[in-house]
Symmetry: C2
Subunit: 163 residues, 2 copies
């Protein structure tokens, strides 16, 4: 079964290459981006300026292929792909929570971007912490790794092939 989506906009960021790009929004506090929504979707942005943070779903457009075990940036041993946030996935969908700075003429100014320039946007959802789990007991292999997150940028590990 195939599912077809269409881009609804483009995310512009300072990052032309994966190498050197923050590995997560939590490592990208200073990185400012701009989202241009296609004209036809702009009425859907109403009320968005009330939210300080947004969930962006996007396509890792320069990701090619995948392996079911990978060694994540924050770890030194291979992990099952679905326990990681690696961009090479069976369905290469990225998820980032960014700060919304302003909405002007259908363009969103955002901060904390960790995706490549030109990334195709699939969806925007409001970020509401009250919709998150109340208590999280275990974060698997991340538990030894999250302290390393601030400021971490990508190395060549998932450098993107086929481009």
């Amino acid at each position: 079964m195939e599912i077809i989506y269409r881009l609804i906009g483009i995310i512009h960021t300072p990052f032309a290459e994966r190498s050197g790009t923050p590995i997560q929004p939590a490592a990208a506090a200073g990185a400012v981006g701009r989202i241009e929504l296609a004209d036809c979707y702009r009425p859907g942005l109403k009320d968005l300026e009330g939210f300080s943070h947004l969930i962006l779903l996007y396509h890792f457009h320069r990701s090619c292929g995948y392996e079911l075990e990978v060694t994540p940036f924050l770890d030194t041993q291979p992990r099952g792909l679905f326990s990681t946030r690696a961009p090479k996935r069976p369905n290469a969908i990225g998820l980032s929570v960014v700060r919304l700075s302003a909405v002007r003429d259908g363009v969103l100014e955002v901060a904390g971007v960790d995706m490549l320039d030109g990334t195709p946007l699939l969806d925007i959802k409001p970020y509401v912490p009250q919709l998150n789990p109340a208590a999280v007991d275990r974060i698997g292999w991340f538990s030894g790794a999250v302290a390393d997150l601030p400021g971490r940028i990508a190395d060549e590990r998932f450098s993107l092939t086929g481009w």
Copy 2:
């Protein structure tokens, strides 16, 4: 530009119809589900049992069409679609954070499901609160609404057409 994804598994839940289904995992604490991953992706589940919660990305397979302003379940006035979690969206991608109870033979037992039975799964990502924003200032129109969340189930508002 079209982007093609393939389902990697099926989410089984107790909910055959949208009406009566919890509107969010935060309203679905007791709802238990089962995810059957296609055989070829099962090696990617390694290390997942270390996490208490998972992010599921899935296709709202019974969602048809959309409007750019909708009145959400938790509100009484029309809001811009991208400020809501309504299932009828230009790209009908759902996002839920569920509790992982067990992984057995490529089948995930999960709790807090708020999607329809038979929902096509697109991706699984580990849920790590440390990757969320440290401080969220504003949650827009949700600020008057989140108190109503526990136990809320869907009414006919977004009842699914074309089926």
